[in-house]
Amino acid sequence: MSTQSSARSTGPAPGAARPHAARPPVDDTSVPSFESSGGDWDEIAAEIAELGEERIVVNMGPQHPSTHGVLRLMLEIDGETVTEARCGVGYLHTGIEKNMEFRTWTQGVAFCTRMDYLAPFFQEAAYCLGIERLLGIEDDVPDRAQVIRVLLMELNRVASHLVCLGTGGNEMGATTVMTISFTAREEILRIFESITGLRMNHAFIRPGGVAQDVPAGLSEDFWHMDTEVRKYLAQLGDLMLANPIFRSRLVGTGHLNLAGCMALGVTGPVLRSAGLPYDVRKSAPYCGYETYDFDVPTSTDADCYSRVVLRIEECYQSLKIAAQCIERLERSVGEPVMVADKKIAWPAQLAVGTDGAGNSFEHIREIMGQSMEALIHHFKLVTEGFRVPAGQVFQTVEHPRGELGVHLVSDGGTRPYRAHFRDPSFNNLQAVALMCEGGQVADVVVAVASLDPVLGGVDR
């Protein structure tokens, strides 16, 4: 398995049994426990009443449909009141950060895009911005590439917020909210598919620029999408915001004030719902955000309802930024989308081949038939990669769920020495205890939905 020469005191000895979890988390068989996979709780409630126990711990998840993913909530309840709430995470840990240490800097993009799968472009962008800072080529990245990045990120923000609103509604039993949201998201995914070829896990933003220029007919597709998404957003607003059931479940629940947000490092819509207009796009602009016209909506209600309103408003703001991107893209047709430095820029542009994918024919003809040096260069850059000067960098971007930070350490090699992602969902889940304790069990679902955790990002 490994050829290392020594093992440290805390590590497993080489050749020893593979590390694995050996026992179940709770050994105590004397504690009565019940399992429920949905349906009616009456029987369980009757049995528990017979036991006469004071303290009841309810394990919600990790496979519960209303926990937004493989999140395990451990709730200690007294009647309908939650007296203690704790989160269990880690069920989706796949070692993405460790794996990135074994791939080139460029290959890392294909890994980090899979972390928060609902907002893949934000991980890609933050990671690439970090590499560019380490390389010292931040100012050399072409404007058109930055505009494409902003366009993708803002559309992605809308898509991500739509999933948040849709699944949040679904968890409260409003299936129509979910179907409308996902239909609207579909329109955006269609744009992503036309630009990157994929609907998620794009690996499209690369160190130095983006993988490829946008297709010719993007403007028409965009304006069609813009009309449709605005229509669906209006429907969502009509369905949710004045709905008495919706209001009674969301207004005043999941309260987290500004002091709580700051202490727990909660950022994004939850922080803005507490009244602080903190947005990395404004406070530390990247990708040229300082040149776009947009507002940062805030509220002072600090409850779940205000977060829904903010997310809908943020969708409109993102569409506004995206429209500005489309105008800029129309003005900069033909400009490069990758740095000029051929020692960093990915050598091949892609083209649609007979099988639906592939490298551009001109490039293949050049390296295979005309220039031996071009072939060597292509081969070295693709297999070995480029070297990044030693140092470390921390790049943050405004993720739909808060501030995403990427900590990259380079030892001067062709691979990241360490890549760490400060995922906003991971951090924000710490607020569950503060938001839920003292409230009703039904409010837990609403509060968690308003944090909008994506467990792929939490566990990485």
Partner: protein, 264 residues
């Protein structure tokens, strides 16, 4: 995992830096980039492609490449960095801590003058991390009120300073960001917890304990967060194997990622 020749690991800054190897290859120079004083050598790697002990058929066997880290940057650091460091020194002195006792060094990274936006790293001794965090959070001229978490880095070749914990702090008030870096030896991986100053570091410290084995003394519940509770070892350490199995594809066998050839 990068292959290491046992004979040359554990190199330090004191080790002579030969420019020509025994094999006659000239080093890919560990020269410091412009504007930076020197680089600290934390490890030396030899050869290429990850092949060792089979004779030097590639011609790269004599290649020696040091793993480096930037040393302390001399003043002036540039921008607001000098002001923040001065105010921090003042506040620490008021609290009865000498700046030099608490801070090992200040690094501006990437080096100023390289054209890139720079970042400030303050290397703090483990016993003073809480005092430094408290000063950075509470003083009105510093006001780094938002912590963006803790991440670990493992340098197995850096004897006595193997484990690093990196704290990322942001001042929303002043629109600034900086980094604190704490170094502890693998034999005594203890750092006082900063959850008393930044409650948000709770899960981040658990994550760093889980993946690197750094013990945060005084943490309210330092349990593993991503791995199961009884998992042996700390997976993000460099000496922990990545794992994986060979995969067959159309008759060829692709080795797992840590056994493929490596260039660094």
């Amino acid at each position: 995992m990068t292959e290491k020749d046992p004979g040359t690991t554990g190199g330090s800054a004191a080790e002579p830096r030969t420019d020509v190897t025994a094999g006659g290859d000239v080093l890919a120079a560990p020269a410091a980039p412009e504007g930076r004083e020197e680089l600290e050598v934390v490890e030396v790697r030899t050869g290429m492609f990850g092949a060792h002990g089979s004779g030097d058929t590639s011609g790269f066997g004599g290649l020696v490449r040091p793993v480096t880290r930037p040393l302390a940057t001399p003043r002036p650091y540039g921008g607001w960095y000098d002001e923040v460091v001065d105010v921090l020194a003042e506040v620490l002195a008021e609290g009865g801590t000498a700046f030099d006792a608490a801070v090992e060094g200040v690094v501006v990274d990437p080096p100023a003058g390289s054209g890139a936006r720079t970042e400030l790293t303050i290397h703090v001794r483990p016993e003073h991390i809480v005092a430094v965090c408290q000063a950075l959070r509470d003083d009105q001229d510093l006001r780094f009120e938002l912590s963006l978490g803790v991440s670990g880095v493992h340098y197995p070749g850096d004897a006595g300073r193997e484990l690093h914990a990196v704290y990322h702090l942001t001042s929303i008030t002043h629109g600034r960001s900086l980094r604190l870096e704490v170094t502890v030896p693998d034999s005594h991986p203890h750092i006082p917890t900063t959850t008393t100053v930044y409650p948000t570091n709770d899960w981040h410290e658990r994550e760093t304990w889980d993946f690197f084995g750094i013990v945060f003394d005084g943490h309210p519940a330092l349990a593993r967060i991503a791995m199961p509770d009884d998992w042996p070892g700390h997976p993000q350490r460099k000496d922990y194997p990545l794992g994986g199995i060979p995969v067959e594809y159309k008759g060829a066998t692709v080795p797992p990622p840590d056994q493929r050839r490596s260039y660094s």
